[in-house]
């Protein structure tokens, strides 16, 4: 068990390292550099060259990678090339803003879609089921920026309940952000829920046809208990990876949604950093996204272990041998 967790952690670290490696070199390959972007259209080649030297952009790329990685491990991502402020501080502010929309979206979205998935499965073939399925399919097919635009049109412009955009910028206070966080969070719930609903529905349908479900029903266990006590927890297992992917997507910076709402989170910071070629900020955001991704997958794996005792033994070599012997 401990060995399993350790190996998962190691895989996670290697993934992170590879992500950092590819991010660093991909960012180097972007057309144009920060010196050109900072100086504007009419910069003389000499001025660009001088700034490049000042920023250390002319030194060896491998040496810069090693130095950057060494600092990054200690949480020091350097200073923004554009604003001159600490990258870590800038990113934490933006990340906390993103969490403000991501966590409610996550909690509400996951709970709601699991319920809807089980509900639709239990009423398989009825009008409820087809309504839920069709709605999920529709939500899946509409890109999140369309969802966002429709929400703005309905709830900010026609019926002005919520603000359409965040005006205050990165210095926005919590009180200013809360009303503005509602529409982005709802957009995320709608975009995310569809996948989980569909996964949960089909998994529950599979569960309902298993022998233990039939046995429980034959034993006289009430239908509701069969569904929620016996089938649903097991059905959750194959859905966990789907949830973890969506959570990672959500936390890793919901670029488009934040851009539409001018929401000062990680995604918007990323767009701004791309357009100004602010490499340290961009690299730090990418590494943070990778970290969230790895962590979300790790948590999903560990949760699966906790929910399903079979998985714990499955990974032990001896146990596998025993299974083989048994089948022989």
């Amino acid at each position: 068990m401990a060995r399993l967790i350790a190996s998962r952690l190691a895989t996670g670290l290697i993934t992170l390292f590879l992500a950092a490696f590819f991010v660093f070199f991909a960012v180097q390959a972007l057309p144009g550099d920060v010196a050109e972007q900072l100086l504007g259209q009419n910069a003389t080649p000499e001025a660009v060259e001088t700034l490049r030297q000042q920023l250390g952009l002319d030194s060896n790329v491998w040496a810069r990678f090693v130095e950057w990685l060494g600092n990054a491990v200690t949480g020091d991502f350097g200073e923004s090339l554009v604003s001159g402020e600490s990258v870590s501080a800038t990113i934490w502010t933006a990340f906390s803003h993103t969490l403000l929309i991501a966590i409610p979206a996550m909690v509400v979205g996951v709970a709601l879609s699991l319920l809807l998935g089980v509900w639709a499965a239990a009423r398989r073939g009825t009008r409820t089921d087809s309504t839920v399925s069709v709605l999920a399919l529709v939500a899946m097919s509409i890109p999140e920026f369309v969802v966002a635009t429709i929400l703005v049109l309905l709830l900010a412009i026609l019926v002005p309940v919520f603000p359409a955009v965040v005006l205050a910028g990165p210095d926005a206070t919590f009180a200013e952000l809360v009303p503005a966080a509602v529409l982005p969070a709802v957009t995320l719930v709608i975009s995310m829920a569809a996948y989980i609903i569909r996964a949960m529905r089909s998994s529950t349908i599979d569960g309902l046809t298993t022998e233990y479900a039939t046995t429980a029903a034959l034993k006289g266990v009430p239908r509701r208990s069969v569904l929620w006590r016996h089938v649903a927890p097991t059905a959750l297992l194959p859905v966990l990876p789907v949830i973890s992917i969506n959570v990672a997507w959500l936390l890793g910076g919901v670029v488009v949604v934040e851009s539409v709402f001018n929401y000062p989170g990680l995604g918007k910071l990323m767009i701004d950093s791309v357009s100004t070629r602010d490499l340290p900020v961009l690299q730090a955001i990418a590494v943070l996204s990778a970290l969230v991704y790895v962590a979300a997958n790790l948590v999903a794996d560990l949760l699966a272990l906790a929910v399903d005792p079979r998985q714990r033994t499955m990974h032990q070599p001896r146990a596998r041998r025993r299974v083989k012997e048994a089948t022989r």
Binding site: L30, P31, G32, E36, Q37, L38, L39, G40, Q41, N42, A43, T44, A47, S80, V82, S83, P143, F145, V146, T149, V152, A156, I157, P160, P163, A164, V165, L167, A168, G169, P170, D171, V256, S259, V260, F261, N262, K268, I271, D272, V274, S275, T276, D278
Partner: protein
């Protein structure tokens, strides 16, 4: 590079298309918009909210910088002189000016008793300091090039500034109207980027680069107090988010935003919001790179010009909101404008192409979402020149690297400028050989000589004649196409009164919100 469609632009097209369909179904005509914003009495004590696209997190309130937060400048500062609608130089901080006989020494008499926001009195030393700051290579100001001819600046007495020029220039005062030339207090270069201390109609209250900021009315402004009490500036990077903020009544005015036609329809037809025009504010160009193999031949360039009708580009790409350019870069509102139409003759263009063995000429024309009308103009232009047998492949590229990767690198692209440069600056900055803004890299000795002769000519009539000859030369030989001047379509609330903008001039003094 692969053509891509920006997702948001695609949506804009969808929504716009839906609106356009709806209008067509009702038999609505092409886009009709009010010519001017509403005028009238404004209410006292109002606060206006303006949304703007921030240059970057490195933006500054230093007017000399290439990254200045443009919207704040006119509110906080004054220049020595400014421009009127006809492109003529008129007083701002200077009340009058004169030169010696050969236009090499210029004296400006400053308005007495003007105070900076910190209470200090404006003197000639501040003006001298301002221009020394602009000319300082460390500042890297875009206006340093045009002002290179200044050899010495002298504070003669408290209200007289003297500029000594290396070469005669009868149009020198017009060079001081650029928006980099706002006057800052002496020795303030170190902190001016944050303090914003000027002599202007508003005083800075707060400012965050790429964030929000507030200015309040300057009670002691020399030209009378502003109508508004406060202006709040908000930075919204994404164009559709900016439009949403306006439609949701979170802001009153979108600055530096040229709405595309579909969006303008939505804004004009929504309750509470409207669209105002800034006539011929956008000067669209299609530079043909002079140094490229494709366009080095003057016959080739002539054929490109003859092949298309700018009126067709105007009516299809801009739905008529603007003026056809006829390849003359001088906007019609300037007094120096040469009112002549060059010929449009696709058959002649075809014959010219044949004479140089290029009857099957084909190349790429680059465009991007950098400005909403680029692609429409590229498409309209490409379909026009097809008549002469020229095949242009429209190539859409990323907006954020458009001006670093494509501009002055690819032989044919769509580009634009804001109009509002005085005639001398326009011709010298964008068409003179070797100028850093010369986007087609065109070089013509005769043209450069003509500009020198014009600058040295102190007779207003014959100088005007020379500037018009220069325009003729651009039409005949230059590597820049000017298909259209487009009106800027500005989204604003119906509450806004006395909004007035032309060139780089913005009237912060009269701007207000409707009474009641």
């Amino acid at each position: 590079m692969v053509p891509t469609i920006d997702r948001r632009q695609f949506l804009g097209g969808l929504l716009g298309g839906a609106t356009a369909l709806g209008l067509a179904a009702c038999g609505a005509p092409a886009l009709t918009l009010p010519e001017r914003a509403a005028t009238g009495t404004a209410r006292a004590g109002a606060t206006m909210r303006i949304a703007r696209p921030a240059a970057s997190a490195a933006e500054t309130l230093d007017p000399a910088s290439s990254l200045s937060a443009y919207e704040y400048l006119g509110a906080l500062y004054n220049r020595v002189v400014k421009l009127d609608r006809e492109g003529e130089t008129v007083p701002d901080l200077a009340t009058e000016w004169s030169s010696n006989a050969d236009a090499t020494t210029w004296d400006f008499a400053l308005r007495p008793g003007v105070r900076f926001h910190d209470g200090r009195e404006l003197t000639a030393r501040d003006v001298r300091y301002t221009f020394q700051h602009i000319l300082d290579p460390e500042t890297a100001s875009p206006q340093a090039g045009p002002l290179e001819l200044v050899e010495e600046i002298e504070a003669v007495d408290t209200t007289t500034v003297r500029f000594r020029l290396g070469t005669p220039n009868a149009e020198f005062p017009s060079l001081l109207t650029a928006y980099q030339c706002y006057v800052i207090p002496e020795d303030s270069a170190g902190e001016i980027g944050r303090t914003g201390i000027g002599t202007g109609p508003f005083v800075l209250e707060s400012y965050t680069p790429a964030g929000a900021g507030v200015v309040r009315a300057n009670e002691d402004y020399f030209d009378g107090r502003a109508t508004l009490d406060r202006i709040e500036f908000y930075s919204i990077q994404d164009t559709s988010a900016r439009v949403n903020a306006l439609l949701a009544r979170q802001v009153d005015l979108l600055s530096q935003t040229n709405l595309d036609n579909p969006t303008a329809r939505v804004v004009a037809n929504s309750p509470g919001t409207t669209v105002a025009r800034v006539e011929n504010a956008q000067w669209y160009t299609i530079p043909m790179l002079y140094t490229s193999e494709e366009f080095a031949d003057p016959v080739m360039r002539q054929a490109m010009k003859l092949a298309y009708d700018p009126r067709a580009v105007l009516s299809t790409a801009l739905q008529g909101t603007g003026t056809p350019g006829w390849d003359n870069p001088v906007p019609p509102q300037l007094k120096a404008w040469l009112d002549e139409e060059r010929e449009h003759d696709p058959e002649k263009a075809k014959a010219l192409l044949k004479s140089i063995g290029r009857e099957d000429f084909s190349t790429r024309i680059y465009t991007s979402a950098y400005e909403p009308n680029f692609t429409a103009i590229a498409t309209a232009f490409a379909s026009q020149v097809k008549e002469a047998g020229i095949r242009l492949q429209i190539t859409n590229t990323a907006a954020d690297s458009y001006y670093t990767q494509i501009w002055m690198a690819e032989p044919l692209m769509v580009s634009y400028w804001f109009t509002g440069r005085p005639i001398d600056q326009l011709l010298n900055q964008i068409f003179r050989s070797g100028s850093s803004y010369n986007e087609s890299a065109w070089s013509n000795e005769e043209f450069d000589k003509l500009l020198d002769a014009a600058r040295a000519d102190t007779n207003d009539d014959s100088r005007l004649q020379k500037y018009q000859d220069a325009q003729r030369l651009i039409i005949e030989d230059s590597a820049d196409l000017t298909p259209v001047f487009g009106d800027r379509l500005v989204g604003l609330s119906e509450e806004v009164v006395n909004y007035d903008e032309y060139g780089f001039e913005f009237d912060y003094l009269a701007l207000g919100l409707k009474e009641g």
